[in-house]
Symmetry: C2
Subunit: 298 residues, 2 copies
């Protein structure tokens, strides 16, 4: 199996959990439709897969932490719905379909986002109360995710991004790095960390998970910027060159295309180092997954 | 001390916790300003006070659960920010000041709401990890709050309210009741329940807290509707008669003014019954608080 197939295989478990998780809840019909419209619109399910794989590699029972994987996807999806709103990035399309507010109207889209974010915490605490996991570990995992998703993480990163967009000239590299670390890096990092925390291992292993997540998070973002210059629209999901057109601060704009590619590779090498202490199928998969991120641009 | 003074006295502890809780976090400056602008804009702090008083009355250490009180206020504040948005109720004023989006723009207001909602879960899990509370009880309390705040609670209620507004004619009484139970009742109920859960008591006491919360939640909403007809603008914070003007479905519109007042009193009597098993200062306060809700309209 290729790494892409392995990723899809693991994502399928997450997908079926997501498809069922809102059923049976007492949610007003149209709101539920709107939430599921975005939650079940596909995607690689990278964050849940990272959490499950780290948990499994470290000896945990990844089936028990599926609700945490799903909650990562709820948080990721809510952020896309709110980012697409007219007051934010004003995007009419998401994954080739009308964005949530285009389909359901702004009010419902805002509420669908709010609902998905809150649902993440329902799912995690429910699992914590029912799955026989350590309550202390669950609390810590929820804390890790909340920190990563909140104003010191993803929400803060989006706020910085909005400020950059309104500003004349390119944001300098250190601010760009901080923005990305918050906007996209924090949740990817939290996914890995939370998988480790819930597997029940000690601090050294948790540190490795966090550092691996951080490194692939940076690599992932650089590659996204590079793909905006060299990619094709089909894999990208948006017009090639749109960042440059909008005068966006990106890695290629700040350090050039070749240097960006090199830097992405360096971060992937760094990520793989944090896997050296482990072995087995999940270790192989997490290694391939890190490499796959960069290979997309070669 | 009058019940109003007692409420203010208890609220002061919450107020100072709220004033400090975002300090020291790594939040982009403007986003932080926007979050604190609404979080520290005053208000009765009813929900936190309910949680603290139920916890104290049942023998718990209310100082330890201050972060849960604060998180209730974060959730309540975020809901006000999002409800005021142009796509929702489009309100320019909140507590006599420009609403959040009028002051900071829509994008920042959406993010400030998202940030406050997420911060609630940071505060609760942090307290759970540091305050020496039972991790299991904390998980349960977080679950209670998340359920109440989410698409099966507050968010769902707002979605229903938006649907009513777009509809011709008044919504029938049973739908109005369900909408209010979700939109405002759920969080008030959760405040009481969560105070009881964290005090460490058994299921009977938790049931009493939940039922007390449910009953005052209904009374509170009826009184709000009544005040819109008979109140003065200063205590109400919005023009008298605005509900009727907007053709809103309210208790007075559906069952008449006198019947509404009677019904509110019935619900308060019901609430007070759930306090009969207890005694002491907090019991007296929670009794007075329930009566105070209705006395506002007499």
């Amino acid at each position: 199996m290729s790494v892409k197939e392995k990723l899809a295989h693991r994502a399928a478990t997450v997908e079926s959990f997501l498809g069922a998780c809102l059923k049976g809840r007492d949610i007003p019909e149209r709101l539920l439709q709107s939430m599921e419209y975005s939650l079940l619109a596909g995607g690689k399910r990278l964050r849940p897969v990272l959490a499950l794989s780290w948990c499994a590699m470290l000896g945990g029972d990844s089936a028990k932490i599926l609700p945490f994987g799903a909650s990562l996807e709820c948080i990721h999806t809510y952020s896309l719905i709110h980012d697409d709103l007219p007051a934010m990035d004003d995007d009419d399309l998401r994954r080739g379909k009308p964005s949530n507010h285009k389909q359901f109207g702004e009010a419902t889209a805002i509420l669908a986002g709010d609902g998905l974010l809150t649902e993440a915490f329902v799912l995690m605490t429910e699992a914590g109360l029912k799955q026989g996991l350590s309550a202390n570990r669950v609390l810590r995992a929820v804390n890790v995710l909340a920190q990563a998703a909140g104003s010191g993480g993803m929400v803060g990163g989006q706020a910085m991004d909005m400020e950059f967009t309104g500003r004349a000239g390119l944001a300098p590299l250190d601010e760009l790095r901080r923005m990305h670390a918050m906007k996209t890096g924090a949740l990817i990092t939290a996914a890995c960390e939370c998988g480790a925390v819930l597997s029940g291992v000690g601090e050294d292993d948790i540190d490795n998970a966090r550092e691996y997540g951080r490194a692939i998070g940076v690599a992932f973002q650089i590659v996204d910027d590079v793909l905006d210059v060299v990619g094709d629209e089909a894999t990208l999901g948006k017009p090639v060159g749109s960042d440059e057109e909008q005068g966006k601060s990106t890695y290629p704009a700040l350090i050039g295309l070749e240097k960006s590619k090199e830097l992405a590779r360096e971060y992937v090498d760094r990520a793989v180092k944090y896997l050296e202490a482990y072995s087995g199928d999940e270790q192989a998969f997490l290694t391939e997954l890190a490499r796959y991120i960069v290979d997309r641009v070669y």
